[in-house]
């Protein structure tokens, strides 16, 4: 996973890295889509980082071209009703879309992970309360709960992040709790305790590092879904406000033109959104195959 050059890997640490390289090549070889999705992922990260320099036009400037003109050499993705360049808007939107998803997933990873680890390690009332909280969240259709949260807290991007984080919380909490629980009485934990480590130290230095791999898998499986959720929320008019460029809102703007045949306004942002989610899902599957082959379906 950590190096792309087999010769270098073998020289640096013969054995372990070579073996990892071998596994990586096995996983990629069995499913060549993993390599494609890794390439796509790098592409999306670059777009998110350098979008403002890559976009050919100002994403907010209207009348860059003739309004509602189909894709052409001057405007690869065409222009929308205000004559804004769709390619530029799609590029600029990458940062916002990925940003929302990354922030939401990070939030639920940290909070859900810590809650789950404490619940799994200490048990008792905290375990009962946190399990109850996560069960209650799961008792809602998750997208509907996110709608309700944003409607109640106010229609802002920060609340979209918060809502997406809340609906993802149970997944992290459950994984962390289960993984910590099975290791709580393991030999190495007992040894750490006998060596005089305090409970918190055992939890943070000996258990949490060990539950990281399954948590990472959870993150990668979750990212695509988080992007989809955030885009869905802005599609129905929550969070991001026009004229800001965001994939979901751009599809919504293009929706009214699709019945009259102006397909490009909704198609390109929708396609890029789909590609991004697809890429994250594929990467998640590959990462899971690599780290935790038992969960493979």
């Amino acid at each position: 996973m950590n190096t792309a050059n087999p010769a270098l890997a073998t020289r640096a640490a013969p054995g372990r890295l070579a073996r990892q390289w071998h596994t990586l090549r096995y996983v990629v070889g069995e499913n060549p889509l993993s390599a494609i999705s890794a390439g796509l992922f790098v592409g999306f990260v670059l777009l998110a980082l350098f979008g403002p320099w890559l976009a050919p036009h100002d994403p907010l400037a209207s009348h860059v071209g003739e309004p509602l003109s189909p894709p052409s050499m001057a405007h690869w993705f065409g222009t929308d009703a205000l004559g804004r360049d769709i390619l530029s808007r799609v590029i600029i939107a990458t940062r916002l879309d990925l940003g929302i998803a990354v922030a939401a997933v990070a939030l639920s990873f940290v909070i859900g992970g810590l809650m789950g680890a404490f619940a799994g390690y200490f048990g008792g009332w905290f375990d009962r309360v946190s399990t109850r909280v996560s069960d209650t969240i799961m008792a809602f259709p998750l997208f509907v709960l996110a709608m309700g949260i944003v409607a109640a807290l106010g229609n802002t991007v920060a609340n979209i992040v918060l809502a997406t984080a809340i609906i993802n919380l149970p997944f992290y909490l459950r994984v962390a709790r289960a993984e910590v629980r099975v290791r709580r009485e393991a030999g190495f934990v007992e040894a750490a305790r006998l060596a005089g480590n305090g409970e918190l130290r055992v939890l943070f230095y000996h258990l949490i590092p060990n539950v990281m791999p399954p948590m990472m898998v959870q993150i990668s499986l979750n990212m695509g879904w988080a992007i989809l959720n955030a885009a869905g929320l802005s599609f129905i008019g929550l969070g991001v406000r026009p004229p800001e460029a965001e994939w979901g809102i751009m599809v919504a703007e293009g929706a009214q033109y699709i019945v009259s045949g102006e397909w490009w306004i909704a198609l390109f942002p929708g396609l890029v959104l789909m590609l991004a989610v697809f890429c994250f899902n594929l990467l998640g599957d590959s990462l899971r195959d690599l780290i935790d082959p038992r969960r493979r379906t």
Binding site: P141, M147, G148, G232, G237, M274
Partner: protein, 337 residues
């Protein structure tokens, strides 16, 4: 058996209570002061105080919660500011449209996903296995609102096969008499073939959109659990005893493989009810989802809260049904109870 069902009913109570507590918290988390909001921008200080007392906002939170429970039980879910109607009436009027769409979408998905999963599991590594893998990975990546638009563009604008993607019936057809609220069933009951075809053709695209999205988890789970069961010892024994392959596959393997699929249905319903909202918006489907979106845009909060609560209650109910079905299918679950 009866006892088992009662036990599951009782088991659903904590979820029900949790759902009501959360919706209560959401109603109290309205931006700003709800009393000032409901009194309107011209409301004087006295008017605001009056509204506050009327809404019970001057009492303690537990007291407010009890009042909230009482209102819910009496069917008072607040009023929609835009239509002036009670929220519960509005929701009840639109619920059949949403349910019809959701159920047809689910049935379509099940009809395609289960045979696909079974075929993929019986022929691992074949083209159908790869097809299944491709569909399941692509399926969960599809933004439903985008696939809906794409289908509408291709089948309405380009090919002209589907009617215009607006609502449950075209403007020239009148709705069938209300019996169940499901146009497909009502038109059949009325013996009106024309209306049935009209309703079915309006329903086709949104239902396919929903089905495409939930097909993926179903097919994936069917394939995985079929693969697991097919490699079990009892299947080998059945085969070795010379049973007909069909009997092995369907009587022995499939019935056992169905249990995990039934469990995933819970997650599938969560997806289904969520994406239902998006599909309703795309196809201007007059269900509770588009009602909630209209209210959201108009900053009309009572319908949104009513919608969230209704959806959550529906979801708890569906999960309960799945639990009961599980008990019916799996004798072990019955014994435990």
């Amino acid at each position: 058996m009866f006892q088992a069902i009662i036990k599951r009913l009782v088991g659903a109570l904590p979820a029900l209570f949790g759902v009501i507590v959360v919706t209560f918290i959401l109603t109290r988390a309205l931006p700003g002061d709800p009393a000032a909001y409901f009194a309107g921008p011209a409301g004087s200080q006295e008017a605001i105080e009056e509204v506050r007392a009327k809404l019970g906002l001057d009492r303690s939170l537990p007291e407010q919660f009890v009042l909230y429970l009482r209102d819910l039980a009496r069917g008072d879910w607040g009023y929609s500011l835009t239509t002036g109607q009670p929220v519960l009436t509005e929701l009840a009027e639109r619920l059949p449209a949403s349910l019809e769409l959701t159920l047809v979408g689910l049935v379509l998905a099940v009809i395609i996903a289960i045979p696909l999963g079974v075929l993929a599991a019986t022929r691992p590594g074949s083209w159908i296995d790869h097809l299944c893998r491709g569909i399941t990975t692509a399926g969960v990546s599809l933004p439903t609102f985008f696939t809906g638009l794409l289908l509408a563009y291709v089948f309405y604008f380009l090919l002209g096969w589907a009617p215009s993607p607006l609502g449950r019936l075209d403007p020239y057809t009148t709705a069938p008499d209300f019996v169940t609220g499901f146009y497909l069933i009502d038109s059949l009951l009325a013996g009106d073939g024309e209306t049935f075809v009209a309703a079915a053709s309006q329903l086709a695209l949104p239902a396919i959109t929903l089905a495409l999205f939930v097909l993926a988890p179903l097919a994936r789970m069917t394939r995985a659990s079929m693969l697991g069961v097919l490699s079990a010892d009892f299947i080998r024994t059945a085969r070795a005893s010379g049973l007909h392959p069909f009997k092995v596959l369907f009587t022995y393997a499939f019935r056992n493989a169905l249990l995990p699929v039934l469990t995933t249905l819970g997650m599938v319903f969560s997806f289904l009810l969520g994406s239902n909202v998006l599909v309703e918006k795309v196809f201007a489907w007059p269900g509770i989802g588009s009602f909630a979106i209209e209210a959201l845009v108009a900053s009309d909060y009572a319908p949104v809260q009513g919608f969230v609560l209704a959806m959550a209650l529906l979801y708890v109910l569906l999960n309960l049904l799945i639990d009961v079905a599980y008990g019916l299918v799996d004798p072990r679950a019955r014994l435990e109870a």
